[in-house]
Amino acid sequence: MFAIGVEFLMGRAMMSQQNRQDIEWPPHPDRVFMALVAAWGESGEDERGAAALRFLESLSPPAMRITEDVSVRTSFISYVPVNDGCSPISKKGKAETPMGALPIGRSRQPRFFPAFTLADPRFHLVWPNAELGEHRAALESVCEQVTYLGHSASPVRMWIDDAPDITANLFPVKENAKCRLRGFGPGRTDYLKRQFDEFVKSGFNPGLRPRPSLWVGYGPNPVQVEKIVEVEPYEPALLVFRVAEGRRLALESCGLVADAIRRTLMSRHGGTPPEWLSGHQPDNAPSQMARPLYLPLGFVGGEHADGHLLGVAIAIPTNDFSSADFQKLDSLLRNHGEPEDIAATGVGYLRLRWAGRNETCLELDDRPFNERALALRPQTWTAPSDCWTTVTPIVLPRFPRRRLTPVDVISDACVSAGYPRPEMVRLGYAPLLRGVPHARSFPSLARKPGMPPRLRMHAEIRFPRSVRGPVVIGAARNYGFGFCRPTPDSLEHTS
């Protein structure tokens, strides 16, 4: 067992999330790792240090010991000189306000410097089942070179600790995650080094900032689940994008939104996109592989639910999707600096356009879960349950016949999608959750001329055992149809 200990020397920390306004706590393990790589890089890049870092990245995600007693300082705007301009005359020809004793001014822009105080200024990343061995001395040396974590006004000291009384309270988990944190894995050291070299060569192009490579769910000590949870076809760690601005959409627009996201990503990719993105094989036949799904997160279930879209979740398949594919997808989801975008280059951001000048903008939601609307929390859609109810209707992949009832078709569709065969299916065109639109209000999907449109029906499905979401069933899953919400034990009806 060993741990990396970190202490905030000022008794307070200045670390922010990507929006640079909200604090980041718990700290992302990748932030600690990037600080180690930076210390190694600025201290001579010795080979033993590199070997120690590569060993560290090869280990499984660490557990963490952190304090949960956090006091956030009141956030306020500071107007500070910025780095890319020093003229005392503004672009509009006006004099900038003089600063201090100087007779000339300089442009100042609003910035936030979020800070927080911790009841215990120390935290640990813990590997309970690993030993450093020959890498200990080198990693200790790298730790001693780390100067700050987060803002440079947040100095730290870092060390290797193997005290047996370090008890972790946050663990990497596959289900019931309370938060998703950026982790690090094999290849991270080399990627960061490469990215830094490119960054410098490009003249500090912000589009080359390091991307996250691995998202890890963290939660309390995993508890044995009584009911067996089926192996999921999709990762429960959803990438959630919330609607930032633009046209307000409803659940009926799920197909339109999914198609717009796909076209946006393909446009950003350029050239020949991979099969998981285009949905086509090299010979143009429809793809048969599992692909990322773009799922509509609508306001449903609550007393005043009206089904409008709060955001979109991207579900990553557990099979047929490598970490290289994920890195590519993550790169495509980042804003590429289009002039009209409000988000900074490099943040998760999508501007969707359709039918002329209609557009809606989505931005990656990395806020703490407790600050989000229910619909934007992944566990709303992924919590294990044996009962699931549709939010968008299931598109039946086959037409029912005399000896093939709609229930049979949907049961077969569940199995095809990777879920167990249901023990009960209740069907109808009317919605079974408050705020969900009628099945017939969803537009039909285009088919070849002369072919009738596929049936779309709402369903309540009970599986023989607990299933972890997301649950997406039927044809047109890639357009957000057949998306279900866990409804354990009780159902909300619209009547």
């Binding site: 600025e42 004099a95 900038e96 600790d161």
Partner: protein, 245 residues
């Protein structure tokens, strides 16, 4: 010591950049927000309806409309509407607003990061590599400079702003941090000791053959900058009077 980034120089974003090595912060403990009042009692007790004030032709103000400066044939009122308050006369209605904090005590924490200094290298001449002895002497000098600066700042007192004067109730003590669990070395540094330490470190830098500027730097503006300052001041003055230039 405080870090810098020469981002607006000829190299733009590739300009020299290094993080701060000295961080300090004063916090107030158990702060309670207060309320401040604003009002004025005019010792002459001039009422707002006492008269209309006009801008005088030769500066100042006058009650004589005939002696006032004119614009388009009309006498110009002082300020917006010629009230006595435009000439700083008259009472101001009392009001309250949020302002000020009451605290139990204030606490200052200062961190001097030696690892941050260890990242810096000091070649004797441009293009040369630094030597271990030269680096050590330079980093020691910077550490001594940081300690001296922090010591003298405390000694100068904390007159942070109007009605915010803090007085230290105990002497400054420094903790030299090693690994957690190791015994921390606690020491105090008087003004005299800090100056002696600084001078000793400065001498070591000289002995190592490294250039160090000890005289106060005088910066002279270029003619273009002087012109820019004049232009800036003219613009500011014009904006203040509401005139177009």
């Amino acid at each position: 010591m405080f870090g810098l980034w020469d981002s607006t120089g000829p190299r733009g974003g590739l300009g020299v950049k290094f993080a701060r090595a000295l961080i300090s912060e004063i916090i107030g403990v158990n702060a309670v927000q207060g309320v401040k009042t604003s009002s004025r009692i005019d010792p002459l007790n001039i009422r707002v309806s006492s008269g209309i004030l006009y801008r005088a032709k030769d500066g100042g103000w006058t009650l004589d409309e005939g002696a006032a400066a004119t614009e388009k044939g009309k006498a110009i009122k002082l300020g917006k509407d010629g009230k006595p308050s435009e000439a700083n006369h008259g009472n101001v209605t009392p009001s309250t607003s949020d302002g000020g904090f009451t605290i139990d005590y204030a606490e200052q924490t200062t961190v001097l990061s030696l690892p941050a200094l260890r990242r810096l290298r000091f070649p004797a001449r441009p293009g040369e590599r630094s030597t271990p002895d030269g680096d050590l002497a330079s980093r020691t000098y910077l550490a001594a400079l940081g300690l001296l600066g922090a010591t003298l700042a405390v000694e100068a007192g904390c007159d942070l702003r109007s009605r915010c004067l803090l007085r230290a109730t105990n002497g400054v003590s420094w903790n030299l941090l090693g690994r957690p669990g190791d015994k921390e070395q606690v020491f105090e540094l008087s003004r005299e000791s800090a100056i002696d330490l600084y001078n000793e470190a400065l001498a070591a830098v000289g002995a190592a053959g490294l250039p160090v500027e000890t005289k106060e730097l005088t910066l002279r503006p270029t003619d273009d900058l002087v012109s820019l300052v004049k232009k800036s001041m003219e613009l500011a003055a014009a904006e203040g009077s509401g005139e177009d230039t």
